[in-house]
Amino acid sequence: LNSATSAVDGLWRNNPGVAQLLGLCPLLAVSNSLRNALGLGLATLIALMCSNAMISLVRRWVRPEIRIAVFVVIIAATVSVIERLMQAYWHDLYQVLGLFLPLIVTNCAIIARAEAYASRMPLVAAAFDGLWMGLGFLAVLLLIGGMRQALGGSLPLLLLPTGGFIVLALLVALKQAIDQRVANRT
């Protein structure tokens, strides 16, 4: 896999949010405003890049029977470090994201990338995969956050968790429709 297909993969074809449907819990919970979406998206992006890189570095020593445990420890440590740093140097954003930062650990998009990609690939490729997957996740968060914030004033339903599901469903449908169109044309 070269860098270009890795980008297409993360942003469109295998987008964590609208194609793999991974990490929906934080996606729906925090996407009620643009600011929250940006904060959580960036934190997830950094966590994904760091954990992918570290898992790629240790991949030769990790035996298959304990790989999941090791991945989880690495991801949890990465997220804890990001949380502490944000709490120390970016306190405003930390106060907004609060509970959702530790929840990044449970974002299955991260463990999925660790298992499916980073544990088999060299360092640079794994880090780039984290970057593109993270950007794909961030883009979906921003789209949903932006739509909910813009339309939530006139339609308060969108600001509730229900609204998150509805907007996400519309985005997934839109992606499928576009994919189908492209497939029919060729």
Partner: protein, 198 residues
């Protein structure tokens, strides 16, 4: 046992040990900045409820040993007194009400010596995002509706949200949340007057 059986737990232990070491390092370097940032954030929020201070002013928290119930479901947690040359300028009461829609709402209520509200801010709450959270100053100006109010303005029977026949706006889709806040502010003002009379 073959070497492989030993290696597996050792690898796992190494991963855990490495992570613990990393976290300990980060903890060492961030403990002080985090404490400073928390203090700053707390001060910034409080500053909005205080008059401009001079270095000679005396300002300090005092907290009862246990929360004091000032009305059913409303507890005083602690208060912040600012005084200048012996005269109280402002008292900020930190109260917690359990009458919210989902869990406790903690408020900081700033009262001038004559019983007039300087302002109210929400310190923490767990109300429904999008419905109950306009009580936060970051989301709407609703909480500013308390500025300059006191007991008697409005009169006791209209210290309530509009759906209950009072003077304070309700929030669309959420009545319980603003009702809890209005009641807690009114209870605190009454408590403040009782204290002042003593």
């Amino acid at each position: 046992m073959d070497a492989r059986a030993y290696a597996t737990p050792l690898i796992l232990a190494a991963a855990v040990g490495g992570s613990v070491l990393l976290l300990a390092l980060v903890q060492m370097h961030t403990a002080a900045p985090i404490a400073a940032a928390q203090l700053n954030a707390e001060r910034a929020q409080l500053a909005a409820l205080l008059p401009p201070l001079t270095p000679a002013d005396h300002a300090a928290w005092d907290a009862p040993a246990a929360p004091v119930a000032i009305e059913t479901g409303v507890e005083l947690l602690r208060r912040f007194r600012v005084s200048r040359a012996g005269d109280t300028l402002t008292t900020v009461y930190e109260v917690r009400t359990s009458r919210g829609y989902s869990g406790a709402i903690t408020l900081q209520i700033s009262v001038m010596p004559d019983g007039t509200l300087r302002g109210v801010r929400v310190r923490s709450h767990r109300e429904t995002p999008g419905l109950g959270d306009p009580i936060e100053i970051e989301r709407s100006n609703w909480i500013l509706g308390f500025d300059r109010r006191r007991l008697g303005d409005p009169p006791r029977e209209r210290w309530a949200v509009k759906p209950d026949g009072g003077d304070f706006d309700a929030l669309s889709g959420a009545t319980i949340t603003p009702r809890a806040v209005v009641d807690a502010v009114r209870a605190t003002l009454e408590f403040d007057r009782r204290e002042a009379a003593n």
